[in-house]
């Protein structure tokens, strides 16, 4: 109150004017804004190496004169767009890997259309992924490949590794990957067959609409978005913060539909029956035993992950059969592992050390 008493009316008016001016300049594109909001995402140069339907396999142009022998294939989740891994220069997991000397490929599943509603996990794991691995081998000329899977992409990569233990996979890294639905109590309750008619939903809509995907994620932590907006307001004068925040917000609002049959399979086999930890999960009529994974394995989890809580992912390390396996648990949330400041300074260097020693 004492501070307020020291202010003159002019001070308050000047402060109000400044805030309003900034707000207007940010929102009216024709005004010469002092803050140039460059919201371009995915800036790291890349080429499409292979394409099939909505799936694209990208190769990022190397940023290092010498690379490790084993190329890295990044497997994206089916839930969101891959540019979270390459948000901006200096805030990009992909750019970091390239600068450390890795040869990086990324599989982007694209946005499923109505015609893709029939796609199942079987298609992704036993058809698309093996095809991408073969293409990476052909393009790079190397017989081995390392995989890094994020979220549901981690699950796809782990399923692939379990089904193809004699394949070209050399290392497997899974970021915050769900394997035990006992640890996802909210989703399990919401999808309980006693009151959720999944079949009717999928039969009617084909794919799960992006709005429904977004709403289900927001409901896991209902006040997080509004708290984020307040943080933005508090840092309105910090242009770097505002730009990073808006860029991240853009990604968070940019959900994509989820293929209907994959959703049916995940809800029934994974969420309701928890078949993966019970070792009864099947793809293409073959049982998936995570114990078949024998390549060096690293799991990365976030302490405050509310989307894939550690209770849902921590069993992965136990289930994997690799003699060389480890886990890194960092402070932060589900997304900050791949796009947050903590990740840039603490996680990514650890990953670099782990992977570089196994990539020669």
């Amino acid at each position: 109150m004492q501070q307020a008493q020291q202010l003159s009316h002019e001070d308050v008016a000047a402060k109000a004017r400044e805030t309003v001016d900034r707000a207007i300049q940010r929102n009216v594109p024709d005004l010469p804004a002092p803050l140039e909001l460059d919201l371009e995402v995915g800036p790291t140069p890349k080429d499409v190496v292979h394409s099939r339907g909505t799936m694209k396999l990208y190769h990022y142009r190397p940023l290092s004169p010498e690379v490790y022998r084993v190329p890295v294939l990044v497997v994206m989740s089916l839930v969101s767009r891959p540019y979270i891994l390459d948000l901006a220069k200096g805030q990009s997991f992909i750019e970091y890997l390239l600068l450390q000397g890795f040869d990086v490929y990324l599989v982007d599943w694209g946005v499923p259309r109505r015609e893709h509603k029939h796609l199942r996990l079987d298609d992704y794991v036993t058809d698309f992924l093996p095809e991408c691995v073969a293409m990476v081998g052909e393009d790079s000329g190397e017989p081995d490949v390392s995989m890094i899977g994020y979220c549901l992409g981690g699950l796809l990569a782990a399923l692939y590794a379990a089904l193809y233990p004699d394949g070209p996979l050399k290392n497997l890294v899974c970021f915050t990957t769900p394997v035990n639905s006992d640890g996802m109590s909210l989703y399990r309750t919401w999808t309980d067959p006693a009151h959720f008619d999944l079949d009717r939903l999928i039969d009617s809509l084909g794919n799960i609409p992006s709005e429904l995907m977004d709403a289900s994620i927001q409901m896991l932590r209902p006040f997080q978005k509004s708290a984020g907006q307040m943080k933005l307001l508090d840092n309105a004068q910090n242009e770097a913060f505002v730009t990073a925040h808006l860029r991240f917000d853009r990604w968070a609002a940019d959900h994509i539909p989820f293929p209907g049959e994959t959703a049916r399979q995940l809800v029934n086999d994974f969420m309701r029956e928890n078949k993966l930890v019970r070792n009864t999960f099947e793809l293409d009529s073959r049982r998936v035993d995570l114990g078949n994974i024998t390549v060096p394995f690293l799991h990365v989890a976030a302490q405050h992950d509310h989307i894939v809580p550690s209770a849902a992912s921590q069993d992965l390390v136990k289930l994997v059969g690799s003699p060389d396996k480890s886990e890194i648990v960092l402070k932060g949330g589900h997304v900050s592992l791949v796009a947050g400041g903590n990740a840039i300074y603490r996680l990514w260097p650890k990953l670099d050390v782990w992977l570089s020693r196994r990539s020669v």
């Binding site: 001070d11 000047a14 290092s64 010498e66 259309r113 959720f196 708290a227």
Partner: protein, 133 residues
């Protein structure tokens, strides 16, 4: 404290915002506890079914009005979006072909000027890089 600094710090809602940010997790956990009970799940399941039914009825009736006004419906826009998606997929296929042809041509001509540079795969990890995991 000078006046400028005072003006910068003057924000009566700041304390409330800071409190909200700090207690957001507790609020979210409390609400999640409510959202996670069977009663809520039951009503949500019922709501989703009813909303789907209403949505279908509304979509069908609106489509007639929009068609009468010569305006596209959401279904039309989605159909258009699907076709754009198909075109994007075909363009990606062409990009793959062009890239492949450029590589073949570069090998045939002994290396074209604009052929992508392939770095050597000889990098070794730093000696000092020890694992602490």
């Amino acid at each position: 404290m000078d006046k400028t600094e005072g003006a910068q710090n003057f924000d009566p809602l700041r304390t409330w915002r800071e409190w909200y940010q700090k207690s957001e997790k507790q609020w979210s956990d409390t609400l999640s506890g409510i959202l996670g009970n069977d009663q809520f799940a039951q009503s949500t399941g019922k709501y989703v079914q009813e909303a789907m039914h209403l949505h279908r009825m509304f979509t069908e009736s609106m489509a007639q009005y929009l068609a009468a006004l010569n305006l596209p419906s959401r279904t039309d826009i989605i159909a258009l979006s699907d076709r754009v998606g198909e075109l994007e997929d075909h363009v990606a296929g062409l990009q793959v072909e062009v890239r492949h042809l450029r590589r073949v041509l570069a090998e045939y001509e002994g290396g074209a000027d604009d052929a992508p540079i392939r770095p050597k795969r000889t990098k070794k990890p730093k000696e000092s890089a020890g694992e602490k995991d």
